[in-house]
């Protein structure tokens, strides 16, 4: 979906630069970073639809970053992109909540397909969440206040 916001996390800067260019050409809004800590910081500041995450990175690795992202409770879907062929790690990432995985080198079309899938999933989950909240308000109108952050006392 054009206009989707993508966060690209990979320590290979040439790869992220090229990928940013390719994805931007295809209408995505891409932010790139080369490490997990920076990714978490950026996620705290901005909303994203899809996160494309490398598993093997210096400092905070992909799995730890994924766990931290999980703690943020975002709707954004994570797509694992790894040069390492360890399917076990990729499967572990999926268990931890990642949407899917792709192995490098991968065709841009394959990545776009996966991004589209992830975007769809994100929207689906977001819609589902909204439905649940509406349902909750319908059932208990007073709960409408829960939708807004409480003022700290």
């Amino acid at each position: 979906m054009k206009g989707s916001r993508i966060l690209l996390v990979d320590d290979e800067t040439v790869f992220t630069e090229n990928m940013t260019r390719l994805l931007t050409t295809r209408g995505y809004l891409v932010t790139a970073t080369d490490n997990g800590e920076a990714a978490l910081r950026i996620l705290g500041e901005k909303d994203f639809d899809v996160i494309v995450l490398d598993l093997k990175m210096p400092g905070m690795d992909g799995i730890t970053t994924l766990k931290e992202i999980g703690k943020l409770g975002l709707f954004a879907q994570t797509l694992i992109l790894t040069g390492h062929g360890s399917i076990d790690t990729a499967l572990e990432a999926i268990k931890l909540g990642a949407y899917d995985y792709l192995t490098k080198p991968c065709e841009i079309d394959d990545l776009v397909n996966k991004i589209e899938g992830a975007w769809g999933k994100k929207n689906e989950e977001k819609n589902k969440d909204t439905q649940e909240k509406i349902q909750k308000v319908v059932e208990s109108p007073s709960s409408v206040f829960d939708l807004f952050p409480k003022r700290k006392g």
Binding site: E12, F15, K56, H84, S86, D88, P105
Partner: protein
């Protein structure tokens, strides 16, 4: 390099020489350690026993000689004493009266026998009286040797002599001094009684006892060596004191040995100077010893033969055992080496694949950027665009080729636990054949399957098995490269004894040379041209089958074909890692 310790274990000739050397070393050592002490002990016992026997026999002969000496001496002394008693108790006058002398002669002969004649002789050698069968009254003995001797010593015993009757006899003479005159009482002794004392002695079958005088003339009849009064076959030698015993084992005529092949004891009597000889053949005297020796020798030979046979049997058994153990150790070593190689290559592959994948990903993105740019630039020269498109397509092709290689490498090193399911191996094989049949037909290859009906279901990992059979069959197809047609024969059979199933995949392809057969399961070993094979296919098959608790072996005839035998257990081992070293589970598809 020391050949004895570092032999080439793969060379059967070297192995044969090694085991043969070991065999003879064992036998040599065991024989030296057992036979040498046995022979030493046997030899020592033999020597000791012989010495003991010689000593006993010498003692026995000494006792015998001493005994006979006493008998002979007491006989002679008794005769001498009687004569002396007569001479001392009767005066010359009485005895010279023939009637008196005759009476004495008669009494003595009646009581003791053995007197041939009796005479009284004066100190001039003239007979004063004589009783006996001859007419000797006129005989004068003044010149006779015995006369001088008896006048000098007072008593004399002569050697044997034949005398007038040609019968061997000897003389005893004693002197008596009476009224300043000396006269002699002389008696001739009948030798029968005396000789019987010596001649009747019997020592075994070959023993004899006799007397010889200083001139070496027999004084009694020897049993075998000759006749009385004849010369003995050996000289009497000088007079010696005491008893001498000669033991001569050899019966050859040695110059140093006076009595070859005999045991002989000699003793010189005091009076007369005769030598008493007791002799026996060595072989008879030491018969018992010889028998004992033979018994010892037989025992020794039997013991040695027993030891030899037992040693050979034990050594053979031990060599067989060592050979078996060596073969097992070799097999285990080869498996360990193979597994070690696979493990090391697995680790390496994962690292290399990762390091290559990242730059490949970048190249691919660069290609995509170029492609995008070309699409967004409509006024590109057509020729350039065609070249660019061609180059970018080629880049794509080569990147995907690289990716295929790295994926194979990664599959090779993947650490995935097998997912165990029930597998109908026959159906499974039919499915795999169907997958590759189209490709095979284009190469002119036919499949023949001989699948055992009612083959037991296996518990195994279908995905790993699929990879294995695909690899094996693809390899079999590739093995017919250059041949217009071929057959791949696949059969299954249950092996209840080993609780598993055997799958035979035989092809009629080019075969594997004996030079390469040991390397076919090595990672990265391939005989295919560059770009056609990674050399991982059979390695992956090997590690997969091992992980599933099975085994894979290969037989090949170069130019005729290859046969792979895969054994799969009915149930995989509880801990799959037991069959493979840690970190060596892998599945993968590739061509070797």
């Amino acid at each position: 390099m020391n050949k004895s310790t570092h032999f080439d274990r793969d060379d059967p000739q070297e192995k044969k020489i090694h085991y043969s050397g070991l065999y003879f070393k064992f036998i040599g050592l065991t024989l030296v350690c057992s036979l040498v002490p046995l022979l030493l002990v046997g030899w020592a016992i033999n020597i000791h026993y012989k010495r003991f026997a010689v000593s006993r026999m010498t003692d026995s002969f000494q006792t015998l000689v001493d005994y006979h000496r006493r008998i002979i001496e007491s006989f002679l002394q008794e005769r001498c004493s009687r004569l002396r008693l007569i001479s001392e108790t009767h005066s010359r006058d009485i005895l010279t009266q023939r009637a008196n002398l005759f009476r004495v002669f008669e009494i003595m002969n009646r009581e003791y026998g053995s007197l041939t004649d009796l005479g009284v002789i004066d100190d001039h050698g003239k007979h004063l009286a004589y009783v006996g069968p001859y007419d000797l009254m006129d005989k004068n003995y003044s010149e006779a040797l015995w006369f001088g001797q008896v006048m000098e010593k007072g008593i004399y015993i002569s050697d044997m002599f034949s005398g007038f009757r040609e019968v061997p006899h000897f003389v005893i003479a004693v002197t008596r001094a009476e009224n300043e005159e000396t006269w002699i009482l002389r008696a001739t002794i009948d030798t029968d009684a005396f000789r019987s004392l010596v001649e009747d002695v019997r020592i075994g079958k070959t023993g004899e006892v006799y007397l010889i005088n200083q001139e070496g003339i027999f004084q009694t009849n020897p049993r075998f060596s000759g006749q009385i009064m004849e010369n003995a076959p050996f000289p009497a030698g000088p007079i010696h004191e005491g008893i001498r015993v000669y033991v001569s084992k050899s019966d050859t005529k040695e110059t140093q040995q006076p009595f070859p092949g005999k045991i002989v004891a000699t003793l010189w009597l005091d009076e007369p100077r005769w030598m008493l000889v007791v002799m026996q053949e060595y072989s008879e005297a030491f018969n018992e010893v010889n028998r004992a020796n033979v018994a010892i020798l037989v025992f020794l030979h039997l013991s040695a033969a027993t030891i030899l046979i037992v040693t050979i049997l034990i050594t053979r058994y031990m060599i067989k055992l060592i050979r078996k153990r060596d073969t097992q150790a070799d097999r285990l070593n080869r498996q360990l080496m193979q597994a070690g190689k696979l493990a090391a290559v697995g680790e390496l592959s994962a690292g290399v694949a990762h390091e290559i994948n990242n730059p490949l990903a970048i190249v691919l993105t660069e290609r995509q950027i170029l492609l995008d740019s070309a699409e967004q630039t409509p006024d590109l020269d057509d020729r350039f665009r065609r070249q660019l498109t061609h180059s970018l397509n080629q880049m794509d092709l080569q990147i995907h080729r690289c990716k295929r290689i790295t994926q194979n490498l990664l599959r090779f090193s993947r650490r995935t636990k097998p997912s165990i399911e029930t597998v109908d191996l026959n159906n499974f094989i039919i499915e795999v054949i169907e997958l590759v049949e189209r490709e095979a037909k284009t190469s002119g290859i036919r499949f023949l399957s001989d699948l055992e009906e009612r083959l037991p279901l296996l518990l195994s990992d279908p995905s790993q098995l699929q990879q294995v059979f695909l690899n094996m069959i693809t390899n079999a197809i590739d093995a017919h490269d250059g041949k217009p047609y071929g057959i791949i024969h696949i059969s299954t059979q249950s092996d209840d004894q080993n609780q598993g199933v055997r799958v035979l995949i035989a092809d009629t392809g080019s075969g594997i040379s004996s030079e390469y057969i040991a390397k076919v399961f090595d990672p990265f070993f391939t005989t295919k041209p560059a770009g056609k094979g990674t050399g991982l296919g059979l390695s992956i098959c090997y590690s997969s089958i091992k992980q599933l608790g099975g085994d894979i072996t290969v037989k090949s005839h170069e130019g005729k074909g290859t046969e792979f035998t895969i054994f799969l257990p009915y149930r995989p081992p509880l801990n799959p890692n037991e069959s493979m070293p840690e970190g060596h589970e892998s599945v993968g598809l590739g061509k070797s």
